[in-house]
Symmetry: C2
Subunit: 256 residues, 2 copies
DNA sequence: CTTGACCCTTACCTTACGTGATACCCTATT
DNA sequence: AATAGGGTATCACGTAAGGTAAGGGTCAAG
């Protein structure tokens, strides 16, 4: 009996000596014996009690409550556990909210990164960009260019990269391949439709089916003219203006 | 400028005065002016900074880190947020584990509650229980009764209550109703089969199809004998022995 | 001039220990 | 028997983010 010194018990249970001192002082776990030199000695009963303490501690119960649970035999453990579970679920909910807030914040921050106009023309040299913007403004009007840029900036970098990748890597590649095998087949139609869907997203247009239908036909024309190629590697801005041109064309068609 | 006293600012931002004192002392939010009487006065800029502090505080950032974020313009906020998100997800995982442990513990505790033999005979007066157990032991043997009780105790109260409720409220009621309209119909067969399935669970038997098939036939006999009624309101133990009788009957049938 | 509202600083309390500092105890080896 | 080593004791400070209280100064209105 009373075999365990503080160190032995602490090793056995995986706690620090300091913890045992603390539990002793606060009355949570008293040694069964104190030697005349005031050494603490614990027995099997204390080891068992320590295990129980650690169980509830693992569940994040405060030590005071653990004492209450263990010392009061009338304590309603089930109720305590259920209450504690409720608290934990609330904490989990709060964490979910926090994670949501962080994610939203991250999106906003990444959007803000896009607010640099330069980001719209990544990979293009600044002189070229400047020349190209000037030319585009002369061609379509300053407002048009600014508007298109404004729209593109509302994207997160991630989303835009995803769309551009799909456009360049997947769609155009398959389109090019199919042009040699089945240029009039249904898959070509699908790809062209998808391409315009993406372009519409990038240019801020709502996807309206009539427009989509129109662009599908327009796409066929483009394909016949072999004009689908410029989409490959197009910078974002060029895409925006490319589709604006088509939209204007569409609008003037409707007016007739 | 510098319109806000500690109290005004604290009300405006929803924090305590003590918090403002603390933030001042730790250099997180210094008042823009101190009057000659050492009163703290804050301006709009400080209000704004406080808002930012509170934003990060809401996300459970430690105040020291908030200071670093706000004071170092080169601080990588995105990385900080992503790291923090990871930490939050880890905490959520831990909470999930804890909740799981609690739920398991609750099941165990409820099982232990069932360990009281009295719980097997809820609603029956103790004298009746004693008399009935004695009689049952004489009829089927002491071991049989103890075995049946042992088996029933491994159930959680919840599950057993669920099964008994289904048995008493749903099955027997519908069975009784159907006996007057379509006593040989397929639904009656289904209900009888389900009834024996439940009884088998309660008596610890694995549900083997051959047995089930046998009991279905046996059930028909019972129905014809109008003996299905005793199931209604039967205490758990009686159910266990009721089915034991049938099982023994089945075994002796097989041996022939 | 007083009163009540506001403000200041100092300091102790909270949780569950970690980390010393200082001093005592025990056992084995020299 | 002295000493070295490891074990042990108590005391006390530090942690994060304030709450709470004590004791005293300031300001504007009546």
């Amino acid at each position: 009996m009373d075999n365990y010194s503080v160190k032995k018990l602490s090793k056995l249970a995986g706690v620090s000596v300091r913890t045992l001192h603390l539990y002793d002082k606060m009355g949570l776990l008293k040694p069964s014996v104190r030697t005349e030199a005031r050494y603490r000695l614990y027995g099997e009963k204390e080891l068992l009690r320590l295990q129980q303490i650690l169980f509830y501690r693992e569940l994040d119960f405060p030590l005071k409550e653990i004492g209450a649970i263990l010392d009061d035999p009338a304590f309603d453990i089930v109720q305590a556990l259920e209450g504690h579970k409720k608290a934990l679920l609330a904490r989990r909910e709060r964490i979910n909210t926090l994670v949501g807030t962080i994610e939203k914040t991250l999106v906003t921050l990444k959007n803000n990164t896009m607010l640099q106009v330069e980001d719209l023309y990544e990979g293009i040299s600044p002189e070229k960009v400047q020349a190209w913007r000037t030319e585009a403004m002369a061609k379509w009007g300053k407002e048009t260019v600014l508007e298109a840029e404004e729209n593109l900036r509302s994207f997160s970098k991630e989303e835009m990269d995803g769309l551009k990748t799909e456009l360049n890597d997947n769609i155009t590649a398959r389109l090019t391949a199919l042009m040699h095998t089945d240029p009039k087949g249904p898959e070509v139609q699908e790809l062209i439709a998808r391409r315009y869907q993406i372009i519409l997203r990038l240019t801020g247009g709502q996807i309206k089916m009539e427009k989509l239908e129109y662009f599908r036909k327009l796409g066929e024309l483009y394909v016949e003219d072999n004009r689908y190629t410029p989409v490959n590697g197009m910078p974002s801005m060029e895409l925006a203006l490319f589709i604006k041109e088509a939209t204007d064309h569409y609008v003037s068609e409707q007016k007739k």
